[in-house]
C-alpha cells in the first residue's frame, strides 16, 4: 500500500491539539508543520508566538523551538532574532487582535523595514481566547461582546485590511491572503506559506500570509455555518490571493 498522506512527525508530540472543533488554527498549524517538514526546516526554525489562541494554543503543538512574545510584539522579537541569527528560519504566528490592534506598530514597522522573516496571520474577525470581543478585523455590523449593537454603530470604525495596508510599503517581498474553507483553498494557502518561507531562505525580506479563519465558539456557529459565513461575509471584505510576490 502506498502512503499518500500522513500527519507531520513534528505535530502533536509535545502537546495535543487543544483547539475548538471547527477552529481553523488546527488546519493553519498543520499546514505550517507540513511545509516545515517538507522543506526539512523543523530542526532549524524558530516560531515567535503571539498571545491568544494564535500563540497559546499553537506553541507546543508543533514540536519546534518557540519564543513567546508579549502581546502584539512578535514582529519586534522576530526582527531582532532573525537579524542576530540569519541562518535560522524565523516566523511569527499571530492572531488579528495581537497583530493588528496592540501590535499594529510593530507589524507595520517590521514590514516597512523589510525584515527577512515570515508572518502567519490568523484573521477570525474577533478576539477568540478572551471570549469574542471586537477586533480591528471585525466586519461591519458584526455583533461581538464589546460591539453589541454591531460594529460601526457605536464608533468602532471599519474593518482593517492588513494585507492591503502592508501592500502600501515598498519593502515587503510577499503578501498573500488565503483561507481554509475547502481542500482547494487549503492547498493554495499551503503554497502561500511555502513561498513565504522560501522567500526568507532566499533573503528577499518580509513575507506575510493572512489566513481568513473561523471561530465557531465565539461566532456561535457550527463549523459548517462558519464556512458559509466566511464565503458569504468574510471574503467580500477580505479578498483572497497574492497581493505581491517578488
Amino acid at each position: 500500500m502506498k502512503t499518500v498522506y500522513k500527519k507531520p512527525a513534528c505535530l502533536g508530540v509535545r502537546k495535543r491539539n487543544s483547539f475548538c472543533p471547527g477552529c481553523m488554527h488546527s488546519i493553519a498549524s498543520r499546514l505550517v508543520a507540513e511545509v516545515l517538514e517538507e522543506m526539512d526546516l523543523v530542526d532549524n526554525s524558530v516560531m515567535i508566538a503571539g498571545i491568544g489562541c494564535g500563540g497559546n494554543a499553537s506553541f507546543g503543538y508543533i514540536d519546534m523551538d518557540v519564543g513567546k512574545a508579549p502581546h502584539g510584539r512578535a514582529c519586534a522579537l522576530a526582527s531582532a532574532y532573525k537579524r542576530c541569527n540569519p541562518d535560522e528560519l524565523v516566523f511569527t504566528y499571530q492572531g488579528d487582535g495581537d497583530l493588528a490592534a496592540i501590535g499594529f506598530a510593530e507589524t507595520m514597522h517590521a514590514a516597512n523595514r523589510g525584515e527577512n522573516f515570515s508572518v502567519i496571520f490568523i484573521n477570525n474577525a474577533l478576539y477568540g481566547m478572551t471570549g469574542g470581543q471586537l477586533a480591528p478585523t471585525t466586519l461591519e455590523g458584526m455583533v461581538t461582546t464589546t460591539s453589541p449593537a454591531g460594529r460601526g454603530n457605536n464608533g468602532e470604525g471599519y474593518p482593517m485590511n492588513v494585507c492591503e495596508l502592508i501592500n502600501c510599503f515598498k519593502a515587503p517581498a510577499y503578501i498573500a491572503r488565503g483561507t481554509c474553507t475547502d481542500p482547494k483553498n487549503v492547498r493554495k494557502t499551503k503554497e502561500y506559506i511555502r513561498k513565504a518561507f522560501q522567500n526568507q531562505l532566499d533573503g528577499k525580506g518580509f513575507s506575510i500570509v493572512e489566513i481568513v479563519s473561523a471561530c465557531p465558539s465565539d461566532w456561535h456557529m457550527s463549523p459548517k455555518q462558519c464556512i458559509d459565513f466566511i464565503n458569504e461575509k468574510m471574503l467580500p471584505e477580505y479578498p483572497l490571493g497574492e497581493f505581491r510576490s517578488r
Partner: protein, 361 residues
C-alpha cells in the same frame, strides 16, 4: 591601558561593545541619545546589529527577542521610556533573560523634564513591572565605575540568567571624565558564549532534541508558584552574594552621609570638607541598589555614629526607605533631597551635618 577622555554615554556604550554586546535597540530620548548614536556606527564595525525601534516598547521587545538566541543584548533609555518597557522587563525577569538595561534618569513623574534626577529608585529596585520580580540594579558614581560595571554586567547577567539594570542619570550620561577602557572580548569568546546558551537553554532550532518554549510566565500546566519559588531562590542568592557598597572614612565616623550614584559625588565632597574641618564624617555609598547592602549599615559603629544625612535627587525621597530599614533607628536620620533637574549641593549636605553636630554639641 591608556586612559581616554570620554563622554558618559559613549564610554558605557563602548564598554558594552567590549563586553560582547552584539545587539542594541533603542528609541531616541534625552538625556541618553549619544548611546544609540554611538552604537549605530560602532556595532556594525564589530559584526553586531543596531536597530532604531519605532518605540521604546518595540525596542525592549527587540532586545528581549535577541536574547532568546543567546546574543548579548543591551537597551538604553531614560525614565518615562523605562516605564513604557515595564511589561517586557517583567517578561525578561520571568523568562530569565540576561539582558542589560541602562536608565539615564531624568525628572518625573510623567514626562517630567530632561534634567538629571534620581526619581526612578522605586521603579528600578522594587517595581520594574507587575508580579514582583527582581533583578540586579547597580548605580555607578563615576564613569570609570560605570564602564567597569557595564563590562562585568553581561557576565553577571548570564551567570544568574537575570536582567541587569544600570541606574545612571543625566549627569553621568553627559559628563566627560577620563576612563580606562577594558579589553575587547575576543570574537571566539562571544561566539562560544552564544553557542553555549543555544545549547543549554536558548532558541536556535531544535536540532534533533525536543523543541523548547521560552516565555515570561508558565502555561505548561506546572503551577506558576513553582516558577516563582525558583526565581525567589535566585533573588536570595543575589542578596547573599551581590551586594556592593563603598565605605569611605566610616571607621571612626560620628556623622554618616549616605547617597548613591552621582548624588554620592556631592556627598563625598561634603565629607572631605567636613573632615578637613575636624568633623568626623564618613560616606556610605550603596553601589548595588538591589540587593541593597544592608550589612554595610550594620557594620557601622553605632556607639560612635551620632547622626545620618541621607541625600538623593528625589522629591519625595525614595532611597530613604531602604536607608531607614538599614539604620534601624540606631541613629537619627536627616533627609536632604532635590528634584526635577536640581542637583544636590555639597554645601547643603555639609551644612546639614554641621547643624546636626551643633545640636549635638
Amino acid at each position: 591601558m591608556e586612559k581616554e577622555f570620554m563622554k558618559g554615554c559613549e564610554a558605557v556604550a563602548e564598554a558594552a561593545v567590549r563586553a560582547g554586546c552584539r545587539f542594541f535597540a533603542g528609541y531616541p530620548i534625552t538625556p541618553q541619545n549619544q548611546v544609540p548614536e554611538y552604537l549605530a556606527h560602532r556595532l556594525p564595525e564589530v559584526g553586531g546589529v543596531f536597530i532604531q525601534g519605532e518605540s521604546e516598547v518595540a525596542s525592549i521587545n527587540m532586545v528581549y527577542g535577541a536574547s532568546y538566541g543567546g546574543t548579548r543584548s543591551l537597551i538604553s533609555s531614560s525614565s518615562c521610556g523605562m516605564s513604557l518597557m515595564s511589561e517586557t522587563i517583567g517578561w525578561a525577569i520571568s523568562a530569565e533573560m540576561p539582558i542589560v538595561l541602562f536608565n539615564f534618569q531624568r525628572g518625573g513623574p510623567g514626562i517630567g523634564d530632561i534634567g538629571p534626577s534620581q526619581q526612578d529608585y522605586f521603579q528600578a529596585t522594587k517595581a520594574h513591572a507587575n508580579g514582583g520580580g527582581r533583578m540586579l540594579v547597580y548605580s555607578p558614581a563615576s564613569l570609570q565605575e560605570a564602564v567597569d560595571i557595564v563590562y562585568e554586567s553581561f557576565e553577571i547577567a548570564e551567570s544568574y540568567r537575570s536582567p541587569v539594570y544600570i541606574l545612571m542619570d543625566g549627569i553621568t550620561g553627559g559628563m566627560m571624565e577620563s576612563v580606562e577602557l577594558p579589553e575587547m572580548r575576543p570574537e571566539d569568546y562571544i561566539a562560544e558564549k552564544k553557542a553555549a546558551i543555544k545549547k543549554e537553554w536558548g532558541l536556535g532550532g531544535k536540532q534533533g532534541r525536543i523543541g523548547r518554549t521560552i516565555m515570561g510566565g508558565d502555561f505548561s500546566g506546572i503551577p506558576l508558584q513553582t516558577l516563582n519559588q525558583k526565581l525567589e531562590k535566585k533573588y536570595l542568592k543575589m542578596e547573599e552574594n551581590e551586594t556592593r557598597c563603598e565605605l569611605y572614612l566610616t571607621e571612626d565616623a560620628e556623622w554618616i552621609v549616605t547617597a548613591y550614584g552621582i548624588g554620592a559625588r556631592f556627598a563625598k565632597a561634603a565629607v572631605n570638607r567636613l573632615r578637613a574641618d575636624g568633623i568626623k564624617a564618613g560616606l556610605v555609598r550603596p553601589i548595588s541598589l538591589y540587593p541593597f547592602p544592608f550589612e554595610a549599615y550594620d557594620a557601622l559603629d553605632y556607639t560612635k555614629v551620632k547622626g545620618v544625612v541621607s541625600a538623593e535627587m528625589s522629591i519625595p525621597p525614595q532611597f530613604i526607605t531602604d536607608v531607614k530599614l538599614a539604620v534601624k533607628e540606631r541613629a537619627p536620620i536627616c533627609i536632604y533631597n532635590t528634584s526635577g533637574g536640581v542637583i544636590l549641593d555639597s554645601i547643603e549636605i555639609e551644612k546639614m551635618v554641621r547643624e546636626m553636630a551643633g545640636k549635638e554639641a
